[in-house]
Every structure is written in C-alpha cells, then in structure tokens.
Amino acid sequence: MANKLHLETMQINMGPHHPSTHGVCRLILTIDGENIVECVPDIGFLHRSIEKICENRTYAQCIPMMDRFEYVTSMMCNWGFALATEKLTDLVVPERAEYLRVIMGELNRIASHLLCIGVTGLDLGALTPFLYTFREREDILDLFEMTCGQRLTYNYIRIGGVSRDIPPEFFPKCKEFLDKFGEKCDDYEKVLTENPIWIARNRNVGVITEQMVYDYAVSGPSARASGVNFDIRKHDPYSIYDRFDFKVPVFYGGDCYDRYRARMAEMRQSASIVRQALDQMPEGDVRCKVSPKFKPKVGEVYSRVENSRGEMGFHIISDGTVKPFRVRARGGSYNHLLVTPEIVRGLKIADLVAIFASLDIIMPEIDR
C-alpha cells in the first residue's frame, strides 16, 4: 500500500437517452468522482434539415415546417417566420390579426415557461410542481385547441394574418384562466421559491456573467437573469407590442435561481399583456388576401421575435420566386447549450441537471 493511490477520471455518456437532457442530446462528461471536469455536447440526433426543406417549398408551405422547428412555442415560430416574410413583402396585417397574434404568442409563452418550471422541479426531484404546472398548461392548450384545433403544432399564424378568427366562447374561457392564473402563480411560489432545498440547489449554481451573455449570445429570460435589461418586445418592438404596458423583469444573480425567478415574473407580465390585448381587441378581418404562391421582392431580411427561450431569428433570402432562396433559423437554445460547458466545469452532475433545466434547452431548436 506504499504506492500512490491511482486516480483517474471517468468518461460518462449523458444521453442521448437520458431523462433530463430534454430530448436527444448527448453530453460526453469527463468526471472525477461526482465533479465534472469537462462537458462536450454532441448534437444532431434530431437534425431534420428544416432549412433545406424550406428551400423546396413555397413560403406558405414553410409555416407548418416552422411548427416543428421548436414545438414548445410553435406560435412564436410561426410568427417569426411570418414576420420575416411580411417584411420582405411589405404586407400590412389587419389590426385584429395582430391582437390575436399577441394573445396567442403570450399564452404560448406562459405555456412554455410553465413547462420549463415544472420540468426544472422534476429534474431536481420535486415531482409535484410538475403536475401543478401542467394543470395550467392544459388550460392553455385547451384554448389553443379551441382556436386552431391543435395542441402542439398550431400552424395558426400565417403570412398576412392568422388562419381563422377565435370562437366567441374563447373570451370568457381565457378571462377565467387569467383570473385564476395569478393565484396559481402564488402557489408555485409557495412550493418552490421559498423552499430551502430549492434555494440550496439553485442559488449560485451555473452563474452566467454579463460578459458571458454577450460572448455567447445568451438571450431571453436567461440573459435578463444576468442583469441584461433587454427584451425585444420592449426595446426593439415588433408587431404591436409598443401599445401594451408591461415591465421587463431583470435579476442580477445570473444563477439558476434567478433564471427561475425571471421566468416566474415574466409569466405574470405575459398574463397582463393578454388581458390588455383582450380588452383592446378591435373587430375586423383576421387575414389579408395573400395568394398561396405569392412572390416576395428580391431581398434579404433578418427578423427576430422574443421567444420564451430567447431571441428567435429568421434570416431569409428571397430571389423573387415563390420559394425562399435560403432560410436560416436561429433559436435561443443553440447558444444556451454552447454556454453550458463553460458554466458546468467543476460542478457536480446534479448541478448540470439543474443548469440544463433552468436554461430551458429544447433540442429541436438546436438541431433543426
């Protein structure tokens, strides 16, 4: 026993089939006991080459593809693509359609954040909040089903408007949901925000500094948790967001706990936006006349929307034909997964799970 103890690191494959990688992501971890020495993400398991497929379809046919680009917030993907195409075409969207887009987009944001918060709880071993958040998410999905018949891939926001008007029973149902949603948020806060174990697991874990936000292009709630006061809806408004009164919640810790709190606060703001939009909504058409084989003018556009995971941008090049010449979609998770190896170094495996959940990484957005 006089020999020196022989120590070595162990390589471990986290994924592609791992319950907390949120899809098929493979992380090659080099671990020393429980500590992570190195983390190398390996992606591409979900690569469907949406960008190439879009080059072979007309603009209108691209919209259902965008549902699959990021299925948790399909509304926002539809919206982002429609917005970019409308910029190329100089289409003016009817007023009522704009309001419907805002309502659906914000409801979808709430649904997405609910999923994120619930899954974070699940990943940290608290199974009950997951069921609670899904109860509310279910209500939102019911509203979507009422509107467009779909619960996951909506294909609702089209170029030049939305696919159809909302049914009359949507208003009371939506109001009812908004009325009880505040209380439910308080419930989550009780179960999670003040829970000492929750705080111990999240506080000072996976700190993203302000400099890292810029270097790695971290956006959305994750950036706002690091003290970056930037929300595309507020500071570079698209659609009709400049008509609504809402705050941009900013936190300064940059850790998992603040990312969670940023999402929590954002949900309440979204609910208030939906409420204002419901009150202000005018009557009228929901769709302007667009030929299914319309030809945008030659040009290039990059347009972005504030998705629940950060900035979602669409770079579209048009050559004047019915099909886009080049489409590139950029989602927030792409950058969040890129920054993950930087912030997990030296932490525990359990922390990696917490970070992964709090950054709200969704794999289809990365692989496209």
């Binding site: 162990m10 471990i12 940290l124 071993g125 009950t128 609670y132 174990i197 111990a200 495996i349």
Partner: protein, 349 residues
C-alpha cells in the same frame, strides 16, 4: 379489548396445534420458528404491497389526480397486477456484468430488509425474538442493505449504477452516525437495548409516556436520518432518476427489480416501526388492542415519509454530506447531553 390481542391466539395455537404434532424438542422449535418466519414474511409482503398502492394514492392526491382507479376498488389491485407483470418479465443480465454479484445483490437487499423484523414488537408479546441487543441488531442489519446496493452498483458494470452505489455508501455511512446517536438517547433513558424493554418503559401515563415528549430533538434527528436511510426524497440520491437515471438498479429488471422495489418499501416500514417503538411508545395506548396502536403509529410515520417525498426536491450530494456532519451530528450530541442532564438533574426532583 383483551380478546382482540393477537398474542394469546398465537399462544393457544402453539399449545393446542403445534406442540401435539411436532413436540417441543429441537425439531419442534425449528418448525415453530419456520412458521413464525413465514408469517412475518407474508405479513410484511402484504404490507409492502399495500404501501406501494398507498404511496401511489397519496402522491396522486397531493398532485391533484386520482392515481390508479381501474383495477379493483380505487385501484387496490394495481400492485398485484404490477407484481404479476414483473414476475413475467424476462430477467436480463448485462453481458459484462459480474454475474454472481449481480445475482446476490437483490437477494441480500431483500433478506436484510426482512431480517430486521425479528426484533420489532408488533404488539404486546407479538415479537419473534426479544434479543437483549435488539436496537443494535436493527442498526447493524439495516446497514447491511448498503452492501447490497454497492454490490448492485458494482456488479451491473454500468457507470451510472456505480455512481449510485458509491453515493449510497457515502450516504449511509454518514447518516448511520446521527441515527445511532439519536437512538442512544433513548437507550440511556431505558437502560436496555431490548425493544420490548424500550416499549415497556414508555407505558406510564396511561400509555402516553412517550420518549418523543422528552427528546423531541432526538426524534427530529431520527426522522431526518431515517429518511436518508430509507433512500427517500429529499435524500434519494442513490437512485436519483434525473441524474443517475435510476442509480444502482438501472440494469435490473423483472423480479430482481421487484425485490429492490419491495425492499425499499419494507425499509420504509422498518424505519417507521423503529420510530414508533423507540419514540412513539410502541404498542402502548388505551382502549384499542396493542397491535392496532402499533399499526396506526407506524402507518402515520409512513405517511409522513410519503409527504416528504412528494413535497421536497432532492438535495445535492455535497449538501447531503454537509448536512449530516455539520448539522445533524452536533445536534445529536446536543441531544445526548440534554438526555444526560435530564436524567441526572430533572428526573430526580
């Protein structure tokens, strides 16, 4: 209520049925012990099955859903259906597993979980064998479970399982200490390690002279350490689904998995039974038969553990260790100090 006590029924059965047939020689004792073992085993298996169902119901109602509803009355046959499914399943052994270790791990886990019940008094006189080192025996035998978990982790030849096994070893070693120390306080008061003696010492005040009233701190420490001992959330790190997928039992399927699963619930019942015996007055209580009091208290403790599980997130491994050594251990010493002071100073007034 004397009529409802089970002890005299067993006595009567023994004297009128068993002794005339097998005699009371060595062979007779052997047969008697075998029957006893089988009945305890059967009872516990039944309890474990019910606990699995109960846990599903409790979790369902905490989470605002129904849980199993289709199989029998409120899904009471669900566990039976699960057990049948698990028995039918193919028993898969990984190609590179250490076959012997892989096979023996669930067996040891299962046996150790049940062996603890030799010294647990289910009621007045309802005890398999009243060892004079009862509580020590329980602590020793429940710790043995950890060896089986490590064997499972090592034998599976899986890195996640290995991590789970290592975690369970570290966790058990750490939490064994405050747990034993918290029980030590009771042993100091009672002056005996026999489980029956401990229960009898709490029989004053019409059966409400419970140790928890004199050592609340000890009870709290015991409950926390026992949660860790039974691998329940917030201390279920060895099998953390989200980090280690399922920890030590990741490669187990079919009946071997069922053995781990049952052992987990039996362990939970064990720690609850110990808490009942040591801190909550055991089978002492007015009006109702003693075994009924024991069951009520124990199931109450089980319910507490279930609520823990469905309320709290999981701790991280270093926080777990810190909590054991920096918080629980000093508190356990404080508890012993308090008990000593109490015994020496207050009780003599």
């Amino acid at each position: 209520m004397e009529i409802l006590e089970l002890a005299w029924i067993f006595e009567w059965l023994n004297e009128n049925l068993l002794v005339p047939i097998v005699g009371d020689g060595e062979f007779g004792i052997l047969v008697r012990n075998l029957i006893l073992a089988c009945s305890v085993f059967g009872l516990l298996s039944l309890i474990a099955l019910c606990l699995v169902w109960w846990e599903r119901k409790v979790s369902a109602h905490i989470q605002q859903r129904f849980g199993p509803m289709m199989t029998g009355w409120h899904g009471i046959l669900q566990t039976v259906a699960d057990a049948v499914k698990l028995i039918q399943k193919e028993d898969i052994v990984p190609a590179l597993a250490d076959r012997k270790v892989f096979f023996w791990a669930p067996v040891i886990c299962f046996v150790c979980a049940f062996a603890a019940y030799i010294v647990i008094p289910f009621g007045d006189g309802l005890i398999v064998s009243d060892l004079n080192v009862g509580i020590l025996y329980i602590i020793a035998i429940t710790t043995f479970t950890i060896i089986s978990l490590m064997m499972a982790g090592w034998g599976s030849n899986n890195k996640y399982a290995l991590l789970g096994g290592m975690r369970s070893a570290a966790q058990a070693v750490s939490y064994e200490v405050p747990m034993a120390l918290s029980i030590l306080g009771v042993v100091m008061v009672t002056g005996s390690m026999s489980m029956q003696e401990i229960v009898k010492a709490q029989s004053a005040w019409y059966g409400f002279h419970w140790n928890i009233f004199f050592q609340p701190l000890g009870f709290v420490i015991y409950v926390i350490a026992a949660t860790a001992e039974a691998n329940r959330t917030p201390f279920d790190l060895p099998e953390a689904e989200q980090e280690l997928v399922a920890g030590f039992n990741i490669e187990y399927s079919g009946m071997k998995f069922a053995m781990f699963f049952l052992a987990e619930f039996v362990n939970m019942f064990t720690v609850s039974a110990i808490a009942t015996t040591v801190f909550l007055g055991g089978w002492n209580g007015p009006w109702l038969p003693s075994w009924f009091w024991f069951l009520i208290k124990t199931l109450g403790m089980v319910f507490l553990f279930m609520v823990f599980r469905w309320t709290y997130p999981r701790l991280r491994v270093d926080q777990l260790m810190e909590f054991a050594w920096k918080v629980l251990l000093p508190l356990a010493f404080l508890n012993i100090l308090w008990v000593g002071l109490y015994e020496e100073v207050f009780s003599k007034w």
